[in-house]
Symmetry: C2
Subunit: 444 residues, 2 copies
Amino acid sequence: MQDLESQEKLLKALEAELPEDIRRHFDQLHPSEIADLLESLPKKDRNTVWDQVAFEIKGDVLSHAQDSVRAGLLELMLPNEVAQATMHLDADDLADILNELPEAIADNVLLSMDVQNRQRLASVLSYPDDTAGGLMNPDIVSVRADVPLGVVSRYLRQRGKLPEQTVNLMVVDRENTYLGVLPLSYVLTNNPEASVGEFLISEINFPADTPSREVAKAFEQRDLFSAAVVDNKGKLLGSITVDDVLDVIQEQAEQTVRSMAGLVDHDMFAPLLSSAKYRGIWLGINLIAAFLASLVVGRFAETIQELVALAVLMPVVASMGGVAGSQTLNITIRGLATGQITRANSRILINKELGVGILNGATWACVVAFISILWFKNYALGAIIGLAMIVNLIVAAFAGVVIPLALKKVGVDPAIAGGVLLITVTDVIGFATFLGLAAIYLRG
Amino acid sequence: MQDLESQEKLLKALEAELPEDIRRHFDQLHPSEIADLLESLPKKDRNTVWDQVAFEIKGDVLSHAQDSVRAGLLELMLPNEVAQATMHLDADDLADILNELPEAIADNVLLSMDVQNRQRLASVLSYPDDTAGGLMNPDIVSVRADVPLGVVSRYLRQRGKLPEQTVNLMVVDRENTYLGVLPLSYVLTNNPEASVGEFLISEINFPADTPSREVAKAFEQRDLFSAAVVDNKGKLLGSITVDDVLDVIQEQAEQTVRSMAGLVDHDMFAPLLSSAKYRGIWLGINLIAAFLASLVVGRFAETIQELVALAVLMPVVASMGGVAGSQTLNITIRGLATGQITRANSRILINKELGVGILNGATWACVVAFISILWFKNYALGAIIGLAMIVNLIVAAFAGVVIPLALKKVGVDPAIAGGVLLITVTDVIGFATFLGLAAIYLRG
């Protein structure tokens, strides 16, 4: 409800052209809430409102905004403004922002920074942003294994403020090779004479080129709060914290949903033309699939003319096949994503899904046959549609497992291409079986 | 690749009936990886393998397994075994497990516990598991605001081991009223004479009845690692850590995907019959929608008999409407979930989506009309299908926004019911417009 109120206040202030009210309202919000509000505004209002965001928090708001919205806001800023506003951000958040700027502008932003900040950034920017290296923050506190805890305490007190949300200290040897982590709480609760090495936990660590998807999975499985990133010689480069992983997980989930629905855009209020174009591509791909199905129906034009009830009932066969196939497809895609489906057990899965297909195919075939007979007073039609439904639901189950497995094998993301391929298969097979059986019957 | 190897090793050991090998293999794995492996096995193998999991880690494996798989494993254990195996778990994880047991057995497990553990649990179990209270861990370390940091240090050292992953100490007053948090790192880096109150951060806190969805959103927005849970008088009850929130987010994302695909079941290897039944429900709902569309087509049986090309092309109109509508639906559902769509800006969204609908409708209508004319050498047919497509894509855009808004208003989850309602609308309108226009033309 907070959201609604907040948004209404903002829209009212916008309408009344009272920038003071906007500014006052923003003072009470967390930067991420301001980012949320900006995302919920049409583009032109977004720009007006952006001017009212206090300069000190612009960097934080940017780091919380989603990519496409952020890109729009960055366009409104000069390179040195970007550099200043983002100066205090963690290197990983800053790298995210720089990755989105056109190269020339990003270079300008880098040049406007002081040397220290630039160096800090260089290591993160040298890795793709969907790897452990791109996610990591190079600002870490590391200690050596042979040092007593009491010395660590004194060192930390001298050092002063630790990076926010520090849970673990990283433990390294003389050569900066990563050895493990030391939870901060251990420094507080154990004997100061004991050495770091005695309490070191050899927690999982990630080579810098580990895909962020794998990093996220490990964090989730092992309930990690932070983990080390190392180079190919095992030297400590930085650390990843769970808040960055949360963003990765959220992004992945949205991507799945987006691609299931057909390349849906990110930004609710992206410009009309770009939304239309982006989504239009998917409509075009679907059109090919739809015309393929039409071609099949077209082959049976005479049969339909003879028995028009076929045209009336054919959407039922196709639709049920599509839904049943999507269910199987979905389970398979999830299993592939979590790594639970492999060569080793895919056979078992196919068998199970075929079983479900046969059971549900038979059940619903009976229901559909019964309704069709009642409706058209035609027993043969009932038998034909029943048979077609069983065939189509079995094919759907098989296709639902095999299509994503095959796509994965050729390196295509099953979540993107799987749905439209599956629907093509179930439509084509559904129409062909139903109309084909009818043609044989009518001719015979 | 680890997954694949791991799974193949396990399957080989299973086939060769070498329980020793399984046990040895498990010794090298994290409990969550064992849970993952169990999930990837058919049910009967799962039970054989479960016997080989060392008793000491059974509790951890259970806490990492997904609900339906866990329920199956719990069935294999006696109440006092469950009590013993889960004794060392955090209260929130333990509560999750108990919530899944039949009440009689859960009571037995509770009785097999020692008093301390039972009390610890009671507070968590008194809240629904999708609220802040159900997520919280009552084992927290709290300190008073008026105490110097040096005293806190000594207290922690005396107390010994802190709960794993402690990032913040909770700060309370004499009456245990929550005041804020004190990051552990502050205790280490600041002057021991200074009082806790000087460094207290008044971080967001959650009343115990806050829905877990809102908790997850706040964690994500504010990059929290932990946060306090309070009762309705503001007294500190426990704390939520980000690892629990990660599970909530993952679960939510999967639920969305599942419901989009039609109530797909959790467990890849659930028994055949239960999978078939569960998914069959969704097929039944879809059947109603499909027959509704058939009814519409049935009204135009004569028209189709006169011009059979209509039957050939009608799936194209319906399919394109369905895809376009799903795209809009998806954006709206996401916007509602993030709270970015409210009464205040839904008008703007409808207008934008109608714009996209008109643009894409017009574009693809031209393409489809052109192909239809080429195919059937019939200009009128081209005009009719083009017109029908524009109408259906505009209706789809409108329905894609309005259906989820309406569902939300009446308290139904748009992610579950939205898809099938939308497809019903686009099928019915698509068929009715296309065949209706054709009927008017043929009669005129």
